[in-house]
Amino acid sequence: MLQGFLASLSPASLLVEILGVIIGIIFGAIPGLTATLAIALFVPVTFLMSAEHGMIMLGGIYAGGIFGGSISAILINVPGTPASVVTGWEGYALAREGRAPFALSLAALSSGVGGLLSALALLFLTPALSSLALTFGPPEYCALLLFSFTIVTFMMDGSLIRSLLGLFFGLLVTTIGLDPVTGAARFTFGNVDLLSGFNLVAVLVGFFCMTEAVYLASEVFDESPSAAVKFGKEREYGALLKTMLTRAVTYLRSSAIGIFLGILPAIGPVETPFIAHTIERRFNRGDAKFGKGSVTGLIASECSISANVGGSLIPLISLGIPGSGAAAVFIGALTLHGLQPGPLLFQNQPVLIYTFFWGFIAVNLFMLLFGIFGARYFAVVLKLSAGVLATFIAFFSILGAYAINNSMFDVGVMFGATALAMWLRALRVPILPIVLAVILGPQFEQQTLVLFTTSESLKSVLERPIADVFFALSLLIVVFAVGKRLRN
């Protein structure tokens, strides 16, 4: 372990750590370009390095990319990666209050703390925690996903019917493509491109990036007084420290949730902030700003995403199981370096693994420092005119949608999602239940399917305590929410 620590501090290691984080932040901050894409693009570059440096660099790109997405989410309400959607709600609202530097620094700090805690878990608890990934079977997944759907649909303000409609519409959309059992094509109308359904990244880029570009552009044409975000001048390091100390529990809770969800192979960084954010909401009922510029909400979101990245490396290294698209590319990269992630990697290459673990801690430290002290330089974005910004976002949205599978079809999907998002906004139908359904729907279908094929009776499902807790909580939420609405 000590050997690994020293190796992670060699000049070459420090260089790849910094390089990885910077590349990641840049890719993450550009809407449409995701962490997965950055890793895939830089895999060949890592062949010029030793295996451990390659791993550290990819780890840095992964962590930096996930944080980078939050920068554009906070400054211009355009999540740079799908994981930053929740950060956008809180961070952009804060930015509009003139607290952009504070929100950016806080995001960096929260990301860094979540990442560091997960890196520590990775360093010390990997063998112990990796078994967690296997104890979560189909009943637990079904219950957890049902819980997420319930909490988002029933906890939203506004019309319950509209939220439910959105949820079911989203679930219906995810059934497009190949049936997971029979392989029959569903709702594809003979179109080959529809066989894999609508690509999630393309849909999210359409929902959040392109839509924002269109609204920005329309502001320019209307010549309406733009509600542009002003980047505040004040340095709020004191406030930052105070916020962090007073919300230590939120940090711990969100990091724990993030690490735990990261270890679960089926839940990746995109899903995590939704779940962490809704759970944190339950602990902060008094916070009227929750979801609309709450400091606690921002911490919960950022902390959990970064913790998820470290958490997902636990089963990746110890079991060879990827927890997200980015993690799958990461495994591919390791394989090309001649390292097969799995139970034997620890035994055969302990120094390499510990070098990577310490390197990952360093990566998170650099990310934290860049975020806190470099935040003001990101504000250059706000100096651009709305027209330039809109063009830039639109260009990268198209590029990003195309780059997923090198397919123009995904670009079409992205534009379709943009049109849908604008239509729904006009109808005042909330988009969040649809987003959640599109993200979690395929996993929900898959897990339900396995649950129904493998469990012999209802009893065998009810014998799983973790699943029972989530089922019971979901039921309680439904009863309370419906009861409350009936009384009003």
């Binding site: 895939a40 895999v43 062949f47 990934a133 296997l134 104890t135 979560f136 079977g137 189909p138 493509g177 190949l178 997971p180 059992v181 029979t182 392989g183 094509a185 080959v192 491109d193 066989l195 894999s196 690509n199 192979p265 089926a266 079991l319 060879g320 199981i321 990827p322 698209g325 799958a328 590319v329 990461f330 495994i331 591919g332 990269a333 394989t335 090309l336 001649g338 097969q340 992630p341 799995g342 139970p343 034997l344 990697l345 599978n405 090198n406 397919s407 898959q446 399917l449 396995v450 094929t453 493998t454």
Partner: protein
Amino acid sequence: MTTRLSALASACLLAAAFVSQSANAQPAKPADYPNRPINFVVSYPPGGGMDTTARALAAQMERVTGYQFRVENRGGGGGIIGNTYMATQAKPDGYTIGVLANPTLIINILKQGANFKKDDLEAIAGITFAPVAWFTRTDSQFGKMSFDQILAYAKKNPEKVKVGVIPNASFDMATRIVERQKGVKFTIVPFPGGKPSVVALLGGNVDISAAYYDEVDQYLKAGTLKALALADNSPAPQLPGAPTMKELNIPMASGTWGADRFVAVPRGTSKEIKNYLAYLIQKTLADPQTRDAFEKVGITLQAKTMAEEQQRFDESYAAVREYLKSIGELKAGQ
């Protein structure tokens, strides 16, 4: 010992490939080809076995030939989207080459009604073939049984043995062939990929998992999992203990139910370019350094020449067709 045996086996295969190659002299280099990078199209997203194969091949081709090779991922729909692109849209100019997998491509045509035909693609080289194998946890009740004993148990207890598979692929079909030939009934549990199925096996949610060797290699070496049987008729060097279908008296087509990774060009590619490419690939695959590079990423090369690969394609096509016909799932008009 086993590594030495497998090395010996690969050496023999390589030698065979080399001899058959040196019999044909080097074909003439087509004029002005290649004058720009050549693209390998992979019908799967980055990170998987096919992607690794294509990237390793691209790197070795660059080293041996000096030309530039790129990998282009066109994933989605379990391979059908990229396969359709290769068969219907790719230009037959020698710069767009598919690194593809059978029987997925054959199943696309015969079962899923893909809008292309077998003849739209021409195989020019075989890279490797890995048969599907069945694995179980060593500490489970099936870990102590042989494949025959498990089949006997399944016969007495229909639908009690849960087998994780990827539907509509070799995994699923090979498992169903065993069911039919032996008159047993498993509970077949569908998973979206090899990894989730192995996770379910490790977590005890299924009893047996149909997978490829390279997906479970680590667990075999660690002693957590053991191989029960191979869905092929010749033994695999990586799984020395696993009985073949022939040894178990289960009739099954050879070289079909697994991953046959091969290189193909779109129909209409000129004969000179096709022969020249096939020659370059054979030359690369016969190089000992290439073999080592592939071994390093967990792939044992089993190179096949253009003629051999086309023959295997035809045989697999006929075998899959016969199977789908027998269960009534053959797409109308095929």
